[in-house]
Subunit: 231 residues, 4 copies
């Protein structure tokens, strides 16, 4: 893709998370990867106040900004994830209400039903808390590292676990494309809200039967998928 | 009705459940029956991206698609219900928040008040969990069968119990017409939300007096109904 | 007022409770009194489908409909209240979420703060449950009678207690005018929601200091009121 | 600023808190300070019914209204805060749902995550209850005094703690400008809602690590801030 298309896609998807009420104020940021470059929302700016050329373009390896405004303060987290997971093409960070509340509660979201099972192969994990030297060091890089560490320790591929909760902070989601990353941010918020209400109704609710979980996940993913028009 | 009218009604009512916020993403599906044919939403598609002629037309008995795109993966569930209950003309499946949360909690919705009693003659039932062979077999047909089994074991007619919760999955509603089925999907979500809030306020809330339940249900249904303009 | 103005006001305020999301489907009804006549929503009708002349006009004493469509099935409840309380000019019945949930929980809404204290001089009462002979008799008249009984037994004037919860049913509010009755329906829903959230945060939350309650209520009501522009 | 600009800003920001659903009915008021004058919403009025010149202009020291309609009954509270804190340029009082519920629960909002830490350096405090002589005396002045007393006893500067809960009443927020005060009102509501949901998910949720709290607060505030475009 040429830079102009990347800027346009990045801007449009940053606007989308505002319209879908996943962020308020200047919170949240969406990025996409194009070869060795990342396009991301500028720092501390109302997305409705900027134009395509203001979108920050950053080199994945050097971290240098090559065009646009000063990038989101969370850019080093995005870069860390792009470097660790070549299969992802877009990343979204929000402070959406229910996903953030689960992150604040520091509890993984249990899979209570098929809505969750359609998109996450297991529960939605929560990272460990950062250590003192991580908080006081390169905080945003360490945030990326602890996400990677969590997925690897759970032996989950990023496309089977398209989002995670950062402890006492909030959700990060991703996908093969920026559009998928945004869809996963919306679904994570929905799944988080469903799970919270489920717990309110029944504090001892059981998680979904693993067989039913696997059946639903594989309806939409993998070689035996039969959901949708594409097969 | 001619096919074109059925396609139009089916499309319009699939759009309605999006507008009423009963579904997000490509979740959910609405169907109507016309003699031996069912018209239903195509699989995995954004309803705003399709036209009337894309609506899938499926034979109730053979399960063959005779026109339109590949039908919803939940079509076998709809067909099972149409075959078991000749009195229903429309079916709706959503992942609406509160009804889905009760389904995930695997608890029937108790009748706490007249809003519920106006439409369901008893509590809103929840199915048993599917067995291993049902999940790994014809899963969508088995989902239909467990709904029929639940109604029959409770000796409820489908029009006195116009919707049910499928355990760890979500709600299905129906009605004499597709419009009634959609209205019942909206009412089930409202009743589910009311019941959840009621439990939060008073964990030991009593269910409605059965006499008051019956009085309200029969204001709207049956030979002594006196609600509305039609009598 | 001439009949046409009454019909117009009644229609407009019935539309308002739909717009304010206090009712769904064909639930809810708003009425106003003009001398010995009551103007009220017709039974079981979508308010957007009717015209001014369809509004039902009913005689307060005889209960006879003198123009318009068949009136709301709750009309006898409204008439009972108008006969008991000459100071009220409008009545609203909704199934709004939080007020209905408190009614279903059959618990009076405690006064936790000044938002409540600005409009209700005490807690929001809940009626006793109806008896078998009341449910099976003139049910809608008995609903009016139990509201009157509750206010009288608590020695509350209807303008100091502009709304009540009918056990396992929902809220009724009223006011000197139909506009006040609608405003009180909206405020009751807000107060009900605030109280529910307050209880979730602190199950042992204290009610407001009675002195602060009285101070706020009398800022807006009675001879020493100093809120607003009119004094 | 000339008076006309102040009136315009005051009107616009009072409209904003209605649009952001932080108030219903005639509740809530926003003011700004210009030298020795305060511009504030008139008492008991629907903000959409007034014009710029109706905005009340009040002298901070004498409390006299020099133009516009009769000012909000909460004006003495605003004046008290302006007199105590020269660094604040705008004040907002709302009855927003979740912040008011925490005020009614009379519990400070614990800091569970970075959303809160980005704006408040500590928990969101709640005032003590007013005493009998304060309620029956100059109630609105005493409300201002107890806010000042709370901040001072906690050794918090108003810009490090841009909002507070008044016990059994509701939130007051402020900022260097009227725009910041409104933004803080919106953020306080969001933080209050997040914290409530967090508690529902995990009644024993831990507060944020103080190091992470400090890191996030200082990303946005103070000499080492690196968030946004302005550095």
């Amino acid at each position: 893709m040429i830079s102009k298309d990347c800027q346009n896609k990045c801007l449009k998807n940053n606007i989308k998370i505002v319209q879908k009420k996943l962020v308020i104020d200047t919170f949240g940021n969406v990025s996409l990867r194009n070869h060795s470059k990342v396009f991301i929302k500028p720092s501390g700016i109302n997305i409705h106040d900027i134009m395509e050329e203001d979108i920050s373009k950053v080199d994945i390896y050097s971290g240098q900004t090559t065009s646009g405004k000063k990038p989101s303060s969370d850019t080093p987290t995005h870069l860390e994830l792009y470097r660790a997971f070549p299969e992802i093409g877009g990343i979204v960070h929000t402070h959406s209400l229910y996903a953030t509340a689960w992150a604040q509660a520091a509890i993984p979201i249990p899979c209570y039903g098929t809505t969750h099972a359609d998109y996450w192969q297991k529960e939605v994990p929560v990272t460990r808390q950062l250590k003192e030297e991580e908080i006081n060091g390169d905080y945003e890089i360490e945030t990326g590292k602890v996400i990677v560490e969590t997925l690897k320790s759970l032996r989950l591929s990023p496309l089977d676990c398209p989002g995670i909760l950062v402890s006492h902070h909030g959700p990060f989601t991703w996908g093969a494309s920026i559009e998928d990353a945004v869809k996963n941010a919306e679904l994570l918020e929905y799944v988080a809200r469903l799970a919270m209400i489920t717990k309110q109704i029944n504090h001892e609710a059981n998680e979904i039967d693993p067989l039913l979980h696997q059946r639903h996940f594989s309806r939409k993913h993998g070689p035996n998928a039969y959901y949708g028009q594409t097969k």
